[in-house]
Subunit: 601 residues, 2 copies
């Protein structure tokens, strides 16, 4: 049995078909008789509103049928292949939906033309043997599946070499009493689960216990295959695994790399007491036979179990992969960024060099009259350490030209400097085809401590979801990682140690405008990631004045965040797809008329 | 009976409570015994992820109870008031969800803390008499309600002055066999329906037939109250109405204004043959009594029926209201925009003057060496006609300063000019507190014919969803409207008549880079609004070369659109909340390997 933990491309059906063919051949070479691919393999995940385009959905259906035939043509027909795809029922849509069983129908007026389904199919001998339609459609956090799909009600079980295999998809595994429970009552030997489960810090700590609970519920081995790679703001970490009904880990793939995980499963069909079909709970179990003949007995090799990564390395590799896939999948040749000598641009530069190689990274020093001496020296030091291309353009002539034409003072004058830098960097981007990287971190994005069209300009924001305190930790970790391997530390010690400053006014430091980053990040974690209200924040010991100030800033900055570049998500609530707030919005946790109204009297 | 078509504010619970109190008093003055407010009156709609914040949901629950008491304190306890609110079940969330009937439970692993509901309540005599939980949760287009709410299964019916009133909410009305069907089987006299139904061109043509179908299904009069006002990209047009079971229109409110619609309903309870409660279909009908005593007989006044607006006036007023509410609800004192002498900036300026008054609008001419003579003259003419504040800042000194520091040619040099303008306008915005308006139209936004951080800079884009051909039509309509009223035409004829040009290079016109706007807008309507694929586009007679070129541009511009300002939605698929595509995305309608693959052989 093999798990193909691959990096698909959204919308690239021919490319993904080619990927499946190539990895199926690999699995066959490794002696597997079953190979499982991730969720929606043929379309990539998440395809978002492409699902609503009928030509796309039809192309996915056709590609599935063709793939089955072409695998057989290439001598791979004896391999059972489980792939995810987008299913589409031909015919006018509302009719297709109306012909469904009642509890299968969506409960709103959305026509869902062609009744699209998030589906998985088992291919064998040139044919599509069965199609499974995902039952539980996640619609929270980054997921919008109720927008796109209609749920399935059928659980197909395929007998393969005398072993009964049930198909499920992703979220089905997270619901107790869902398809795994049905499989447990029906009696099966193996449950396969294609997944597209995005990375979040420490999420890998949740997955193994979850899969164990479901394997116990299904009374069967679970084969969990997750995709790997970056897709806009999401990064998928892989971490595919196989788990026996008694909880034994039969194999686990490494994170953040494409990987073929093979596991020798020794399954004894006689351990399943009863095998049923027909209606079980809300689902209908169907049985299908591919082959009764068991595979010859073999000596199972010891399981291949990758260790999960340490926290900082895990985050670093998530950011590197998210950035690399955004740049490469969008066909960008190179990136450019402003180097201030500060910690944020240093870390982004180091990430970019790790993701793309130094030769595809262009750093530009953009000193002003407020830049300290060390700024340029630290930027130059970074360039030398990492080997990226480096140039310097002082901004004074442009800044002076604006001041000659319009009167700009105070914050308007500070923002002007940032916008001159943004305009210069975008000019270089347009002239040479580099993508501009934004260097803002999550703390800054949260409170809007940045200039629209200035330092926030850019097509991708690699550390958009990394709080400032974690930026420092990552810098120290990356340098230590280099030291341990006898390599040059990429990030200048001075960039890590000096007090952070925007350097837009004489002697300016961040703490002029913001609380300490320890305090700020603490409030962000509780208010943004945990969605706590004012009373809970105070109960957790945050300083009331800091809380009031930070909440006011976070609420007001929605406006800026709505116009900012995408960036790799690593937390529960990144500022992006999974946190949607109105811009026009009068709710303030601190409004006394709300918190202390008559309701509490 | 009265319908209070009000403009609520998202998140402003105390303000919305005050609004309800004020309009309830108005309804009482008008002699009504029942007043119906729009969906989620107390929180505003849509509150998006505020729903997930427990402190917010609790505040909504408390405000409801307090409102009932305070209405009675103010002598309004004899009025039955139907308000929408956000319901929240205290206690740990998963437990709250698990205690629900099975078919009421969400089918995913989303914990939905506190089991939030989109709810409506009937208040009477100081109490919350019944609470109705919306059954059908729309999750398509601009709606994400499956993300936020759990559906209801109970249909409460309240006897008020001997008349049985059933409560529903919005989408419930769009589903055949939904709560209106249940009400029809149960036997009721009146169905009230609080709504938040966003404006779309010609949607008012759909509403009346829909309400008529449901009134027939419910065998009862339907009272449909819709909210009015702008909320970020959405604008709600009101168009509230009351419809008798035989389809007679008993009253209709005007669009785009707050309005108290009163209608004298003469309902004969003896026409309902049977009255049931208990389980009907998937819902449980409950009966509640407020008063059996019928109201004294009265002479019904003739219905007040507003005529729907003509198409161009309707769009213009939608855009004016969307802009005004965005500016005012966000507390912005004034707006600034660049005036090029072209049609887009002229129409945006005219909209802004209609929305805010000339004194809150600042126009700036920003000529370059490529600007034609008429550009500045037309901008000045516009300023005179509308009375807005006008100033001129030539951009040459800044543009020259950049060219002195870095080499920028071709498109990079064109973009530079746009970015210098963007930086100047943002400088003025920061210096004086104006919000910068972006003047890009839908055709331009679709194909990315704009400069990031240049002409696309700004906090609100009033004509973002208006195709260029419609921009011209609106300009002509607005001038004719002025002529008809003996007022000055706001838009210079020359801005309407001259060929459109970005004026970033000598002699440049839009048709150098784009097909004619007639062709372009035709393809946008079919590809974006109707989601048609390549084959369908060609079948509809579009020029294959134009289609190939436009689709390539639209697909590639997702990147830019993700970083653009919000703008009022007027079409089925605005570029905003209701069209979500991956940036990283390889699907191209024109890929021959997809369109002409073996699947078709």
């Amino acid at each position: 049995m093999a798990l193909a933990q691959v990096d698909t491309r959204v919308g690239d059906i021919p490319g993904n078909v080619e990927l499946v063919t190539r990895w199926t051949a690999k699995a066959a070479e490794a002696g597997a008789s079953l190979v499982v691919f991730p969720e929606m393999t043929l379309t990539g995940y998440p395809p978002e509103d492409l699902v609503l385009r009928e030509s796309f959905a039809r192309a996915s259906e056709h590609a599935l049928v063709d793939l089955a035939a072409s695998l057989a043509d290439q001598g791979l027909g004896g391999m059972a292949v489980v792939v995810g795809y987008l299913a589409h029922t031909e015919g006018t849509g509302p009719a297709a939906v109306e012909s469904m069983p009642e509890d299968d129908r969506p409960a709103d007026a959305n026509p869902r033309r062609g009744a699209p389904r998030n589906a998985a199919a088992l291919l064998y001998g040139g044919d599509v043997v069965v199609r499974y339609y995902k039952r539980h459609l996640p619609n929270y956090g980054v997921f919008d599946e109720a927008r796109y799909f209609v749920p399935g009600t059928e659980l197909p079980v395929v007998r393969l070499h005398g072993i009964d295999v049930a198909l499920t998809v992703c979220e089905d595994l997270w619901v107790e009493g869902g398809p795994c429970g049905v499989a447990g009552q029906a009696g099966v030997d193996l449950v396969v689960s294609p997944n597209a489960s995005p990375y979040e810090r420490a999420k890998d700590d949740l997955r193994l216990p979850l899969v164990r609970r479901r394997a116990a519920e299904a009374r069967a081995t679970i084969v969990y295959c997750n995709q790997v790679g970056g897709q806009d703001e999401l990064v998928f970490d892989g971490d595919s695994m196989a788990v026996a009904p008694d909880g034994e880990l039969l194999g686990r793939a490494p994170q953040f790399v494409e990987h073929l995980l093979t596991a020798d499963l020794t399954i004894d069909p006689s351990s399943v007491a009863e095998r049923r079909d027909g209606r079980i709970g809300a689902m209908t179990v169907t049985r299908h036979v591919v082959s009764e003949e068991p595979r010859p007995a073999f000596e199972a090799r010891p399981p291949s179990v990758a260790e999960p990564l340490e926290d900082h390395e895990e985050v670093w590799r998530a950011l590197v992969l998210g950035l690399r896939d955004f740049i490469d999948k969008n066909g960008m040749p190179s990136v450019v960024l402003g180097l201030s000598g500060g910690i944020d641009s240093a870390v982004v530069a180091a990430l970019a060099v790790d993701a793309l190689g130094a030769d595809r990274v262009y750093g530009v020093g953009l000193p002003s009259k407020y830049s300290s001496e060390h700024s340029l020296a630290d930027a130059e030091d970074l360039a030398k350490r990492t080997g990226l291309h480096y140039s310097v353009v002082p901004i004074a002539p442009m800044v002076d030209a604006y001041h000659g034409s319009v009167e700009l003072t105070g914050v308007a004058a500070e923002n002007l400097q940032a916008r001159v830098r943004g305009t210069l960097l975008m000019g270089l981007s347009n002239q040479s085809g580099h993508l501009l990287l934004t260097t803002g971190n999550k703390s800054e994005v949260a409170v809007g401590y940045s200039t629209l069209y200035g330092d926030s300009a850019g097509g991708f924001a690699p550390i958009k979801d990394v709080p400032k305190t974690l930026v420092w930790e990552l810098a120290r970790w990356r340098n230590a990682f280099a030291r341990d391997r006898g390599e040059t530390e990429p990030i200048p010690a001075n960039s890590i140690e000096k007090p952070p400053s925007a350097e837009l006014a004489p002697g300016q430091v961040d703490t002029d405008s913001l609380p300490s980053y320890d305090e700020l990040d603490g409030v962000i974690a509780d208010y943004v990631d945990r969605d706590l209200g004012m009373a809970d924040l105070l109960e957790r010991g945050h300083d009331p004045e800091v809380v009031a100030r930070v909440l006011r800033l976070i609420d007001a900055a929605e406006f800026k965040r709505r116009q900012s570049a995408p960036g790799t998500k690593i937390s529960l609530k990144a500022f992006g797809r999974d946190r949607r707030l109105p811009i026009t919005n009068r709710w303030r946790e601190s409004l006394p008329s709300v918190r202390e109204g008559a309701a509490q009297s």
